[in-house]
């Protein structure tokens, strides 16, 4: 009997310990006194350190918080690793009922949940992305939508890749087919505009998080002759490790990936959500709880292309990249695949 009790508790402890890491408030209590801080909660599919989609938003939020004056001005709460939509949905509802001013559902897969919950909490503001749907047509007034025009940075990375490649073979590692399509389409267009004869090999791992397969995909691309690689989603950490080991150039997207491959990561397209967040806060404080669909572009400084300062890059390449960005900003280039592709 005693043994049953002990073992039951052990299992419960193990389970609690297992769940402990993923659902937590950012530390610190709200400082009272000079007015209530603005409160934002975010639910994201992977971890805050995924060096990809989730981290891009988390880093932006931290930047905004620092800008605004820390905990006393902006209070943040987050739930990470919510790859199951049912878990995420429960978390979103929890945050809404706890009275957060803005609840961010950081994943296109959370759309249904967001609108369902938004209709129950009309005084709370919600935001979700990647999407352009604010539900305004269906009468929603408290939902923001956001997304990145990732093909812009993809195009610029494509231009860089084409100029760096000596073999004229370039490898792309995608997550699930169809996802990251914008980035990859832009990338291919960028390559083709510079070197129409270059070969771009694209492989999908079928997962956002399978680092092992992504790493092997990098090996495969390298063996198939690729000397420049890019890829998207949190799985790419494995691939960057392989690129690093084989001294093959890597072009990053979403978050800063230089730390992983200090010698091989040439550029990063970085998603900077800070302006979007700041704008939403302003609107909410002014009583406007939703209705805007934001898009990150080079034009509005939502997208940035950063070069790795630590490695030598030909000025020619840097110049071509800058020119491409200007072309996109001015509308001279529309970085999408031609219709017949």
């Amino acid at each position: 009997m005693l043994r049953r009790v002990i073992s039951t508790w052990l299992i419960i402890l193990l389970l609690l310990a297992g769940c402990g890491g993923s659902d937590e408030d950012a530390e610190g209590e709200a400082v009272g006194g000079e007015g209530e801080p603005f409160r934002i909660a975010i639910v994201m599919p992977s971890s805050t350190t995924d060096i990809a989609w989730s981290q891009s938003m988390f880093d932006s939020l931290m930047a905004v918080q620092a800008e605004m004056g820390g905990e006393s001005a902006l209070k943040l709460a987050y739930s990470e690793g919510m790859f199951r939509v049912t878990d995420a949905s429960a978390a979103i509802r929890d945050y809404a009922s706890e009275g957060y001013d803005l609840v961010i559902a950081h994943g296109a897969q959370y759309g249904n949940s967001v609108f369902e919950i938004a209709s129950d909490f009309t005084d709370t503001s919600f935001a979700w992305g990647t999407s352009s749907d604010t539900g305004a047509e269906r009468g929603f007034e408290n939902v923001f939508a956001y997304g990145a025009v990732a093909n812009e940075g993809g195009y610029v990375n494509g231009v860089v890749a084409a100029m760096l490649s000596k073999n004229d073979v370039i490898g792309v590692i995608g997550p699930v087919a169809g996802d990251a399509k914008l980035y990859i389409d832009g990338f291919v267009r960028g390559v083709k505009d510079v070197k129409p004869e270059a070969q771009v090999n694209i492989s999908y791992t079928g997962s956002f998080s399978d680092t092992t397969l992504a790493a092997e995909a990098a090996h495969v691309h390298i063996q198939a002759g690729a000397d420049v690689l890019t890829g998207s989603a949190q799985q790419v950490v494995g691939a960057i490790g392989v690129a690093n080991e084989n001294n093959v150039a890597w072009l990053g997207t979403q978050s800063d990936q230089i730390s992983l491959g200090p010698d091989v990561v040439v550029t990063n397209q970085i998603y900077n959500w800070a302006n979007v967040v700041v704008d939403m806060i302003g609107k909410i404080e002014a009583g406007e709880l939703g209705g805007t669909a934001y898009r990150l572009t080079f034009e509005n400084d939502g997208l940035r292309l950063e070069f790795n300062e630590n490695i030598e890059i030909d000025d020619e390449v840097k110049e071509a990249a800058r020119a491409a960005i200007e072309d996109i900003k001015s509308g001279a280039v529309d970085p999408v695949l031609p219709e017949d592709e």
Binding site: R3, I6, S7, T8, L10, I11, L14, L15, A17, G18, C19, G20, G21, S22, S46, S47, T49, D50, I51, G81, G171, G174, A177, N201, I202, S203, Y204, T205, G206, S207, S209, D210, T211, T212, L213, A215, E216, A217, H219, V220, H221, Q223, A224, Q234, V237, G238, I240, G241, V242, N244, E245, S259, L260, G261, P262
Partner: protein
């Protein structure tokens, strides 16, 4: 297009990928084989791998040598095995549920420690390719088999070693007996708990080294949940290989071969929808499992606690 797949260099590439991809599966599945042969189902392999991956990475990240990292993984693997043994053998909890508990524990703790001790995804310099002199010079085979890092060789070395331990040592005889008829073993003075503790510690150590093979061998980074359920595939491979080390090797290679094939098919732009390509390993696993469902080798006492009865 298909011609492209059939060139010698592509075939060598596919087999090279296959040999390397099988590494973490081999470590984990061989470890699980020890546990299952002694009658303990450990579904917590993935959690142990994550802990092993983290500790190996952390030790190397802190500037220690790679082999110290492997040692750290072994130590944490043994501890995780002990924990599983305490819950499943001493406390006699249901083996399935306590394994899931162990998995969540490993997943959560490795993430927590990663956030606390490292904080962001970083890279380290892991095990390098270590071409074996002369052997790696053999055309074709040399590159496929003898041009890998040290942990890859170690994984394959563990196949005959595990076979030998299970089939040619007194410990192995006890393991086989305890997994099949613990009562009979008990009446001959074999400590059923002792044997099961031992196999779970061996299994834990191997799984943890499997994790280390990712974080300081194949990828040289650590990321939360970086095994991505690989440990569960390893458990399936043990069934697949019908509890024999050679079967496990075959299963791991077959699974990895299909994975390698699908990556190559995509990379070479062969017109197969990538959705189909990605599904290939899983479809194949199910098909093979369906055809190998009936096994006489299955340890009769698998997943059953043993208590000295009336």
């Amino acid at each position: 297009m298909v011609d492209e797949l059939l060139t010698v260099s592509t075939l060598i590439g596919i087999l090279h990928s296959c040999v390397r991809l099988a590494t973490p599966y081999l470590f984990a599945a061989l470890g699980e084989t020890f546990g299952q042969r002694s009658g303990v189902l450990n579904l917590g392999v993935d959690g142990i791998m994550l802990m092993g991956a983290f500790f190996a990475f952390y030790v190397v990240f802190e500037g220690h040598s790679l082999w110290v990292g492997v040692l750290a993984a072994i130590v944490i693997g043994v501890l995780m095995g002990l924990l599983k043994a305490f819950v499943s053998v001493t406390m006699q909890s249901l083996q399935g549920i306590s394994g899931i508990g162990l998995y969540l524990f490993g997943l959560g703790l490795s993430s927590l420690l990663f956030k606390t001790l490292i904080g962001s995804v970083e890279g380290v310099s892991g095990f390098r390719q270590l071409p074996i002199p002369l052997l790696s010079e053999i055309p074709g085979i040399g590159h496929i088999l003898f041009n890998h890092n040290a942990l890859v060789y170690l994984a394959y070395l563990m196949v005959p070693v595990s076979w030998f331990v299970i089939n040619r040592t007194t410990l192995g005889l006890k393991i086989r007996a305890v997994g099949h008829n613990p009562e009979a073993a008990d009446t001959l003075g074999v400590s059923v708990s002792g044997v099961r503790y031992t196999t779970l510690m061996i299994g834990g150590a191997l799984a943890a080294v499997g994790g280390a093979s990712l974080s300081i061998g194949l990828q040289n980074v650590f990321q939360e949940n970086m095994t991505n359920g690989l440990g569960f595939i390893a458990v399936a491979l043990v069934y697949f290989g019908s509890w024999r080390t050679v079967g496990v090797l075959g299963g791991a290679l077959l699974f990895s071969l299909v994975n390698a094939l699908q990556l190559w098919v995509q990379a070479l732009d062969i017109p197969v929808p990538s959705e189909i390509a990605v599904m290939m390993p899983y479809i194949m696993t199910i098909v093979v499992l369906a055809f190998t469902a009936r096994q006489i080798q299955k340890p009769a006492a698998l997943a059953r606690s043993y208590e000295r009865g009336e």
